[in-house]
Amino acid sequence: MLHPEPWGDRERPVCPLMLSPSTLLTVLAALVIVAVVLAIALFFIKLVHRRRIRAIGVRRAHYIGALGELVARNALPMSSLTGWGDDPVFLEVLFDFLTIVTGDERATLDRLIERLDLPAKLAEDVRGSRRLRKRLQALGYLVEIADEDVEDLFLGCLDDDVVEVRLHAARGLARVGNPESVGKILDRMEHEEPWVADRLADVLVGYGPAAVPALSQYLLLSQFDPRRDAELLRDITRVLGLIGDLSAEPALLSMVEADERLLRIGAASALGTAGTPASVPALLQALEDPDWRVRARAADSLGVFSDPRAIEPLGIALRDRAWWVRQDAAKALANHLGGEARLIEALGDADPYARDAALHQLGLKGTVRDAYRRIEAGTGTELDQRILRAALESGAPNSAELSELAG
C-alpha cells in the first residue's frame, strides 16, 4: 500500500502500519507532548520526592530527640501529645526505640504507648482499615506491644486471606505466649503452602519452652497418622531443636526410629540441643542409619554431650563412606573432652580417609602446629613426634602448612 509518488497525496495509507502521513504527524505531535510532559513531571516528581525525604528526615530527627529526652528523663511531657500517634513517622521511630531500650526506659515508653492509647488505635486500624498497607503496618506494630487483650484479634487474623496478615498474627500470638494458641497455629500449618508453614514454624520458636508440650504431643500423635505431612513433622522437630528444651527429648527419641527419613534427620539434629546424655544410645544407633544425613546429624549431636560411650563409635565413623559423616565425626571428637586422643590415634589408622578426617580437625584445632612448636622448642614429647610424623606421612591435609612449619 505504499504510495508510488514520494511527494504525492499524503492522505492515503502509505506504510505497513496503514497510517496516513497526517495520522503519523498527529501521533508524532502527541508523542512530543507526552515526552515533554513526562520529562517535566519526572523532574518535579524527583524534586518533590527529595523534599519529602528531607521533610521526613526532619520529623524523624524531631521525634528521635523528643523520645530520647523522654527516655533520659524517665518522664512523660505535661503537654498534649495530640497527633503523635497518628503520624507514621512517629510510630516508626517509637518502635525502633522499643527494639533498643530496656528496664526503666522501656517502662517510660510503655507509659507513653498507654497514654497515646496506641494498642486500641492500632487494633482499630487492623479491624477497620480497608487499606491493606495500613492494616499490615498497624498489625506489625501491634505485634511488638501485644498482650492478652489483643489475643482474640490475632486469632481472628490467623484465618485471614492475606498470607502476611496470617504471619503477623502468628507472631503476635507467639508474643502473647499463651500455649493454648500453639494448637491453632499447628492447625493452620496443615493447610498452608510449605513456605508459609516454614515461616509459621519459625514463629513457634518464639513461644519458647511454653510450646514444647503441645509440639511434643502433636509429634507423638502424628507419627502413627499416615496422613500427616512429613515436612510438617520435620518442621516441628526443627522447632523443638531450636527451642532446646529438654522436655522435648521423649518425643524426639521416638522420632529417631521413624520410617520417614526426614523425621530421623530432624530428630537426630534436634537431640543435639534438646537432648540429654540419655539420648546417647539412640544417637549411637542413628550413627548406623542407612541414610548418611542421619548419620552425619547424629555424629554432630554426639559431639555436644562429651559422653565417653560415644568416643569409639565416633572413631569408627571416621571410616564412614560418606565424607560429611567422617567430617562431622571428626568435628565431634575434636569438641569432645576425650576426643583428641582418639583423633591422634586415628592418625595411625589403616584407612586413609579416617586419617584425613582426623588430621583435618587436628590441624584446625592447632594440635599439629602446637606439637611442631614444642618439638622445635626442644620440649616435644614422643606423642608430639608421633603426631607430626603421622601428619607429614599422611601427605594429606595441611601438608603444605606442615612443610612450611618444618622449613
Binding site: 505504499l2 504510495h3 508510488p4 514520494p6 511527494w7 499524503r10 502509505v14 506504510c15 505497513p16 502500519l17 502521513p21 503519523l24 504527524l25 501521533v27 508524532l28 508523542l31 512530543v32 507526552v34 515526552a35 513526562l38 520529562a39 519526572l42 523532574f43 516528581i45 524527583k46 524534586l47 520526592h49 527529595r50 525525604i53 498497607r133 499490615l136 506489625g140 502476611e164 504471619l167 507472631r171 510449605p194 513456605w195 516454614d198 515461616r199 514454624a201 519459625d202 520458636v205 518442621d235 526443627r238 531450636l242 565424607w323 584425613d356 583435618h360 590441624g363 584446625l364 594429606a396 591435609p397 595441611n398 601438608s399 603444605a400 602448612e401
Partner: protein, 466 residues
Amino acid sequence: MILNLLSILILTYAVVIEFSILGLGVGSGLALRRDRYVARFRRIEDLLSSDAVPPVSIIVPAYNEEIGITESIRSMQMLKYPKIEIVVVNDGSTDATLARLIEAFRMVEVTMPFRDDIATEPITAIYESMLPIPLVVVDKVNGGKADALNAGTNVAQYPYVLLTDADVVMDEFCVLRAMRHVVEDRVRTVAVGGNIRPANGCEVAFGRVVEAKVPEKMIERVQLLEYLRSFVASRPAWSRMNALTLISGAFGIFRRETLAEVGGMVPGHLGEDLDLTMRIHRHMRRNKRPYRITYAPDCVAWTEVPSSTPVLRTQRIRWHRGLLRAVRDFRGMLLNPRYGSVGMVGWPAQFFIEYLAPIVEFAGWFVLPIAFLLGLLNVAVALPLIGIALLVGAINSLLALYLDEVYGYFNSPTEAARLIGLAFTENFGWRQRTVWWRVRSMFGNRKRQEWGNMERVGVGNLAGRE
C-alpha cells in the same frame, strides 16, 4: 519503489520494536508495583533467624584480582544471611591473588572431596580459612571465568550457589532478598537474578555503596541509563512471564543441582550467562518440569562498568558475539510453542530486539539516505516515523527513570536534569556507536576470550577516581 518500501519497512520495524519495549516497560511497572508491595510487608529480617532458609555458596571467580580481592571477600562476609560459604576460585592467576588470600585469611591447604558433576580444568589445591569465617579458596589451572565458576560449583557444599564477580558490591540484604523467592517457592524456583547497577561514581565504604551518584563521565552515564532500562523497565515483566532469558553474570543464584544437570557454564562462550539461562529453560521445558527463573528487583548489586571507549567497545563486541552464538545454539526454541513463554515471547524478543534490530538499523543508515538522494523516499512518512521511533525510545528511558524512583536515588536537581536530558540526547551519537559495535561483532576475529579485559581499580576506590 523498492528502496522506498525498504526504507519504510526499516522505520516501521524500529517503531514496532520501540513500542514493544514500551509495552515491556509498562508491564515491568505493574510487576514492580506488586513486587514492591509484597517485599514491603514480608519482613525480610525475620528470615535471618530462620533455619528454613537454604544456605548459599557464593562462588567468586578470580583471575589477577590482587587489587581488590580481599576487600571483596570482606564485603561478602558482611552480607546479612543466615548461612553462607564463600568459595573463591583462583583461575591460575599470574599475580599475587592467591598469596593475598592466604595471607589475609590464614588459609591452609586441606583435602576436601568434591563432586565432579561438571568437567573442569584440574583443581590443584583447596584451602580453608583458619579464621572463623566460611571461606574456601580453590586453586586451579587456568580455564576461563566459566570454568572457574564450574569448579566453584563442584566444590560448593550448599544447595544454592550464587555466581558473581569479584568486583561486585552487594547491598547487605541482597542475597536474602533474592533467596526470598526460593523460600516462597522452593519447588519451582531454580534461578534468581539480581538488579545490577553501575557502581561508577558511587561512594563506596566498608564494602557497601553508601551513596549512589550519577557518574560524571558521559560514557558511564549512558550505561547507567541502559542498565536501568534493562533491569528496572524490562526484567520484571519477563520474570512475571517466566521468560527471563538472561540472568546477569554479576549476580545470579542457581539451584546447584540444576546447574549440574545442565553441565554448568560453557567455557569459552562469550555470553556464558545468557547461554546458561537459556539452557536451563530448555532443559526444564524438555523434561516438562515445573520451574521458575525469577528476577529480584529489590536485590541490588553494584558493578563497575567500562569508563573508556576501547574497553566498552571490547565488552560490547564480546557480549554481542555471545548473543550471536546463542541465537545459533537456541534457534530451535525460536517461536516454538514447546518452550512456552520463553520460546514464544522471551527468546523471540531477544532475537528481534537485540539481534535483528541493530542489523536493520544499520541497513537503514544506507538505505534511507540513498532513497532520499534518489528522490524515492516518501519523506512525509519517513520523517514522522523516525521522530516516533526516537521519541518512544526517549519515553522508554523516562519510564525506566520513573520506575527507578522507588529506590530514591539521583534526586538532586542536577542529577535528575542530567539523566532526563540524556534520555533524549543518547539517541544521537551514542546509539549509532553501539549499533556499529554490534554489527562489527558479526565480522572479524571471533577467537575465545576467557576473561574480559576490564580495567579495575578495586571496589573500595571507586569513588573519586578519575
